[in-house]
Symmetry: C3
Subunit: 149 residues, 3 copies
């Protein structure tokens, strides 16, 4: 564990990052369960196994789950990169933890707002709040490495 | 190569991770070839170049390739993160290799099952088997860094 | 900043990688602005806030922005992984910078070609040119770690 224990900021980042990966996995499980309950399958072979080709169809709530998942890909995956690099440019632990925690909480709220179709602009606000620490980290990293462009 | 040669587990992870990235690239090439063969283009400018706007249309097999690719984004990209971090928490090489190999083989089977529309639940089982090492790595990482939350 | 300043190639990679992450964020902002201007919302709760359920609809240009974004996920996210690992196998700085710069410029051109629907095959050529440094890095990494499979 040498590398991890030497860098508290990185360990803090890893904690929230892995929780967000698990959050994404949970979203995938929810999508699968909704497909089964609504009987709406993207593939004919799945529909055949669950009652017939008439269930090879779209469902609005399945599509909502898909959109929530794709939004996670667009935002959480870049965070996995930015947070790791940011941890290596020497930020103070309290400031770094604030970045990670704000992103984590806002992305959890984003998923909840998506799945429960909370009134607009709840979901959009969660998205914007989560972007703030990401843009902050991106700019700090650029300043740190600009000399190497 | 200092960092890589110092960590055998990490090098082992990198080997399978890069093979999976190449597998994703191959899926993109297949999608492009299917578009050309089926004459089904997502963009009017591509259709115009290949015979006319009537080929700006969807095709079920192109959509199948797309779903296989997006499922890779949802699963292989988080593995690239989890596997790298897991390599840093000091697992034994045989146990770590087992994690990487199971994921690798299950994801290759997942793509094959998707592209050849193998009978359900082949594809779903491949997805679930691939998730087992990911969840195992995620939990081991959380235990290792929980003190830094 | 110990790790970053010790490795010039890695710092050079990080510079272009972060610019590309910001490019992806800009694409997301553009998509949101197009949704507002065209009044085409993926979610009923957003449509309700912006005039009524009749604006819960698809728009061809919004879908074009979505495709550009998903293509970025498929290509820029694997680059974030490959570039980081490649930086650790000891390439010379000029050769490495060439890899990163070609990928960066080709992916910027890809987005421009997508958003402005430039005549085919501009976008496809940008995609292929961007893949060349990625495949080059992937193969060099495989050679470096093949002994650890």
């Amino acid at each position: 564990m040498a590398f991890l224990t030497r860098n508290e900021v990185f360990s803090c980042f890893v904690f929230y990052a892995v929780l967000l990966v698990i959050k994404m996995y949970i979203l995938a499980i929810i999508t699968g369960q909704v497909r089964l309950r609504k009987k709406a399958f993207a593939n004919p072979e799945d529909a055949l196994r669950h009652g017939g080709l008439q269930f090879h169809r779209e469902d609005p709530y399945v599509e909502r789950c898909r959109r929530a998942h794709i939004n996670d890909l667009e935002n959480i995956l870049p965070f996995l990169f930015l947070g790791a690099i940011y941890s290596m440019i020497g930020p103070s632990l309290p400031v770094a933890r604030l970045h990670f925690l704000v992103f984590f909480l806002a992305r959890v709220l984003h998923s909840v707002a998506y799945l429960f179709a909370l009134r607009a602009p709840t979901r959009s606000l969660a998205y914007i709040v989560a972007q703030i620490p990401c843009v902050s980290m991106a700019l700090q990293i650029l300043v740190a490495v600009a000399a190497y462009a």
